[in-house]
Amino acid sequence: MKLENQWPKYYKKNVVTHYCPGCGHGIVHRIIAEVLEELDVGKRALLVCPAGCAVLAYHYLDIDVIESAHGRGTAIATGVSRANPDLFVISYQGDGDLSAIGTAETIHSANRGENITVIFINNAVYGMTGGQMAPTTLLDQGTTTSPLGRNAALDGYPLHITDVVAAFPGVAYAERVTVATPGGIKKTKKAITNAFQTQIEGLGYSIVEVLSPCPTNWKMTPLQACRWVVEEMSKEYKPGLLTDKREEKRKLKA
């Protein structure tokens, strides 16, 4: 008998994550580990993990990791990448981290075209703190700090930060995907592969936004949460390629 799905080389063995049942983090962690192995960059990888549910990512991913203060992931990634350009640098961030407290770092690392890859987990809430409203929370979506639903007049609108940075000349690759369906998961792996390759080729900043279920804070079953990603979240944040400037960057480099 042959095992068809080998345990990924860069995923720690004999650990069970602290993530809730049906949480998207586990899927994205696994995909990162798989792609690191397929592209053979795990040995020189350094992942910046955020404040939030993924703060303990170093217990799961078997690569070098540095923890970040809330929102500062891409500043730390900039420091790492500039000090040692041989390192393969990933900043793993959630929506509160990347698009609220870390907005300035996100915008400017993207604008500088840092040669790093950002994995942006968008679940429309602050997960670890108990499901408060995030910049990405949908209109009318109930959270612990928008109990009657997000009200545009009081709380503003869902923030499309990846669309913003995709417009920057420094951003070589940006795609939005979901991990709520098998097809979405396949596309996520393809997008993360493209993003990693962008960095390997030294073409600059790459970002993959992953619409990811948070059943616990959405107060749904894991299956309902997946449906909600497909039926509600994907309407606000349309999955797809947001920018791909790799070809022109390759020409510039040549």
């Binding site: 078997d62 070098d64 990791v65 420091g79 390192l87 393969f88």
Partner: protein, 348 residues
Amino acid sequence: MSGNHTIGEAAIRAGCKCYFGYPITPQNELGEYMAANLRRAGGVFVQSESETAAINMVVGGAATGARVMTSSSSPGISLKQEGISFLAGFELPAVIVNMMRGGPGMGNIAPAQGDYYQATRGGGHGDYRTPVLAPASVQELADLTMEAFNIADRYRTPVMLIGDGMMGQMKEPVVFPEPVKEFPEKKWALKGRGEGPSRYLASLILDGLEMERHNWKLVRKYQEIAERETRYELYLMEDADFAIVAYGTTARICKGAIKRARREGIRVGLIRPITLFPFPTKVLQEIAHRVKNFLVFEMSTGQMVDDVKLALADYQVDIAFHGRPGGVIPTPLEFARVINRHYLRMKK
């Protein structure tokens, strides 16, 4: 050479590979020097989007084992405190320069010493301290900048070099030490796992007992720093029966004042802490066996004076204070008058 340029040149000679900073007066010449000269030397200069970003770039650079630095002035250093706390928690070496200005709030851009508490008490959140070096001449700026990198590496800690607008702007002759060629090995640095086991740097320690152990470990490190790195200068203290305590710019002004006072027959000397943390407690205590009157000068409303009082709590001594906060630079004449007044009171 100006003080700010001197720090830049000394840092490059110390092997500083990366400078991350944000413009703020009165230390802009340092960033400008690095933009031109560190890049020319093959290093990294990034003008960050904010002070917070700059200090976190420092965190990232330091994690790879490179010698890294940032600089700012009072309001900017407040913004950097989050990152300094993380550096202390991670036990990462880095050099942070604070060219202090008048405050609180926006304050002004004139020289002041109002950040003493912030610098010596940790400054950010949590239970940590930062070694603080306080030069008083351009030559010392060069020497202590290079030493700051050594102390940072030796003890895996952020080190703060603290001056003020005057230290940064004034020009004096300076002889630079030879560039550092050999650097300590940093086995802890993150370089990718390679063929070995993966490693991580984290300051999150959820278990209370484990966090407590980490806190006490830091304390032991600070005790070792206190034993081995405490620095001070004694000026005309051999025959003194009256001691001034002052650091940085204020200490320079004091020297002029002491010369004047000595011409009038006052046997006054200066104790100048060069490290503000660790504070030169022992030398103060030794001197307190024979000197019973201390006068603390600061360009603040009185911050270091607390450390003098703590050091001499068990001694029967009189500790007076004279401060000029807010960016006012006192003159040697003013200090000499204050010395005179206190000396007369003392002799009664």
